[in-house]
């Protein structure tokens, strides 16, 4: 049983976890950096502990500071949220050493999934298809491999993930240079110079499966489509993934569950896949061993509170839901409102919010830590709010989201609501099943159109 929970995160997810825990009668303690001492989550937590200065490296990413604060507050469990230390095997081990329950998978699972080659091997062993490719230790090995893969290829960091440490190579002439760069970048970013090479799958869709596991059993809570992304950062997500045949959806969820079972997975996790819709093929990408930003779309259609389930599993409970009793109703969409300036190439826009008006009503959920007067520090990511809607079907959900976005009124910092509205109004998005290159093409087309109108 968890009586006092330490939340090692900030922003909207910190508030989401605090609120979820408080509803369960769990006392909450929030670790805050100097930049967040006056944040909304800090005011709403039962207690706060300062964990360090504003830069994340000295606060939210400092395992020693986080664990010392949680122990000092006599918490019995620690929830890491997403990002920051959420998938750190070292944090999971430090919690164990300090007698704290880590709300997440075991340290061994985190270590296995953090190493992308090891994760790939687990997928293969579970019978899950992976993109053709392999680890390469030298240029000669890489050249040999590419003869069977064909061009273009993707070089990935073994220690990477979340879209970081990726390099696409189009032609043989670039290979030697790109391979060396990728390896030295991987070493700088992840402390691990190892890279592997995969065939580049063009026009793929990003589809993922939500899992819950208790080390014995694993259930899935259906699919999400997160193909609307830019520089590997997701912007619009929905559940279920539109336009999948029942057979393909079944194969994807079966594959995710098979991998979860092989890992004896504990807690909430997501298996990400790349889908080649035209060929009805799918490939394993990676496992996100934590709660995800886009978890509310699954909650909206399943009625399941994923944070509550995480906490129950962490406290030692067996899974409280069975696959048979899970049923998905309707369609949900999430839009991420970021502090980004649409007029200036989506550059980040930190500052102070002067007004924060959000939509409310039937089928609308707003997850945010922002209100009038909130600081948006330059030290962390730009996510301000998530607008989530649910309706009977996808078309109705799109209408509801468009109306909800029109009611958003945020001033003081620049926000990306006009871009979100643009996507929702776009015929291709409305048709469904866009690929991961869709948003970049949309932005490029807008750039060309505005250049033409400026010239004319």
């Amino acid at each position: 049983m968890i009586r006092r929970l330490f939340v090692a995160n900030r922003g909207e997810i910190a508030l989401r976890i605090l609120a979820g825990a408080q509803r369960l009668g769990i006392e909450t303690v929030l670790g805050v950096s100097d930049a967040d001492l006056d944040s909304v989550p800090a005011r709403l937590a039962d207690r706060c502990v300062r964990i360090g200065p504003a830069p994340a490296a000295h606060s939210y990413l400092d395992i020693g500071a986080v664990v010392a604060a949680a122990s000092g507050a006599a918490a019995d469990a620690l929830h890491p949220g997403y990002g920051f230390l959420s998938e750190s095997a070292a944090l999971a081990r430090a919690c164990e050493a300090a007698g704290l329950i880590f709300v997440g998978p075991t340290a061994a699972t985190l270590a296995a999934l953090g190493d992308k080659l090891m994760a790939r091997q687990h997928a293969v062993a579970a019978g899950v298809p992976v993109v053709p490719g392999a680890a390469v230790a030298s240029l000669a090995e890489c050249e040999h491999l590419v003869r069977t893969l064909g061009w273009p290829i993707l070089i990935k960091a073994v220690g990477g993930g979340g879209g970081r440490g990726l390099r696409r190579v189009e032609a043989p002439a670039q290979l030697a240079g790109q391979l060396e760069l990728a390896s030295s970048e991987a070493n700088a970013a992840f402390g691990d110079p190892r890279v592997y090479v995969e065939r580049y799958v063009a026009d793929g869709r990003h589809i993922e499966v939500q899992l819950l596991g208790d080390e014995t059993d694993v259930v899935h809570l259906g699919t999400r489509d997160c193909s609307v992304q830019r520089r590997y950062q997701k912007l619009v997500e929905e559940a279920p993934a539109p336009g999948l045949t029942a057979a393909l959806e079944r194969r994807i969820t079966d594959a995710a569950v098979a991998l979860g079972r092989r890992l004896r997975y504990r807690g909430a996790g997501t298996v990400e896949f790349l889908i080649d819709g035209r060929r009805d093929e799918f490939y394993f990408l990676e496992v996100n061993a934590r709660i995800q930003v886009e978890h509310p779309v699954t909650e909206m259609i399943s009625g399941c509170d994923l944070v509550a389930e995480q906490l129950a599993i962490a406290a030692g409970s067996a899974l409280r839901i069975t696959q048979q009793r899970l049923s998905m109703r309707g369609h949900a969409i999430e839009c991420r409102i970021n502090a980004e300036d649409v007029e200036h190439g989506l550059r980040p826009s930190p500052g102070r919010v002067s007004r924060a008006v959000f939509p409310a009503g039937e089928g609308i959920r707003v997850d945010t830590h922002i209100e009038a007067g909130s600081a948006v520090p330059p030290f962390y990511d730009s996510l301000l709010a998530k607008i989530i809607v649910r309706a009977a079907d996808r078309a109705a959900a799109i209408e509801r989201m468009a109306a909800a976005l029109a009611l958003c009124d945020i001033t003081g910092v620049a926000v990306n609501t006009s871009l979100l509205a643009r996507i929702l109004a776009d015929a291709q998005f409305r048709d469904g099943a866009v690929d991961t290159g869709y948003l970049e093409r949309l932005l490029a087309a807008d750039d060309r159109a505005s250049a033409r109108s400026a010239a004319g």
Partner: protein
């Protein structure tokens, strides 16, 4: 804390009334619900009261890195390179790498002279003019405000 289900419940009740605006205030927060002027739907605004309940008194926040105020007059006709946005100032592409420029470096308008990290994004800072770097005003890793002077360059005699 109210959930979105709670707010939906309140709005279901309000929808049947002519109420235009509804305020709910407790010790911890105030919620304002307004019928949108455009006709469809409601908006919500929240206000959270009070200060963070600190377990131990917070140590004073680390003083912001003070930008050394270099005298502009010393450089005569030097051109200032200013921060395009707020963030952390880095002189090299990555830790341990050689700096983009040193004092004395020759630059053109599109030379990258530094990066500023804001909200996890790396933003290149361009020289903006042709010339020679004569002053670097901020230490590597220092925090800079938008428009703060980062470097000065002297245009070359043509």
């Amino acid at each position: 804390m109210l959930t979105h289900d709670d707010v939906e419940e309140i709005l279901r009740l309000l929808d049947a009334t002519p109420v235009e605006e509804f305020e709910l205030e407790t010790e911890h927060f105030k919620l304002t619900l307004r019928r949108s002027a455009a006709g469809g739907g409601w908006t919500q605004e929240r206000e959270t009261h009070g200060a963070a309940p600190m377990l131990a008194p917070a140590a004073p926040a680390a003083a912001a890195v003070a930008a050394p105020a270099t005298a502009t007059t010393a450089h005569g006709d030097a051109i200032e390179i200013r921060a395009p946005l707020v963030g952390s100032f880095y002189r090299a592409p990555k830790p341990g790498a050689a700096p983009f420029v040193e004092i004395g470096s020759l630059v053109t308008a599109d030379t990258v002279v530094a990066i500023i990290e804001t909200m996890k994004l790396m933003n290149s800072v361009y020289a903006g003019a042709d010339g020679q770097v004569v002053d670097i005003c901020i230490d590597d890793g220092g925090f800079v405000e938008q428009h703060q002077v980062l470097m000065r360059i002297r245009p070359l005699e043509s």
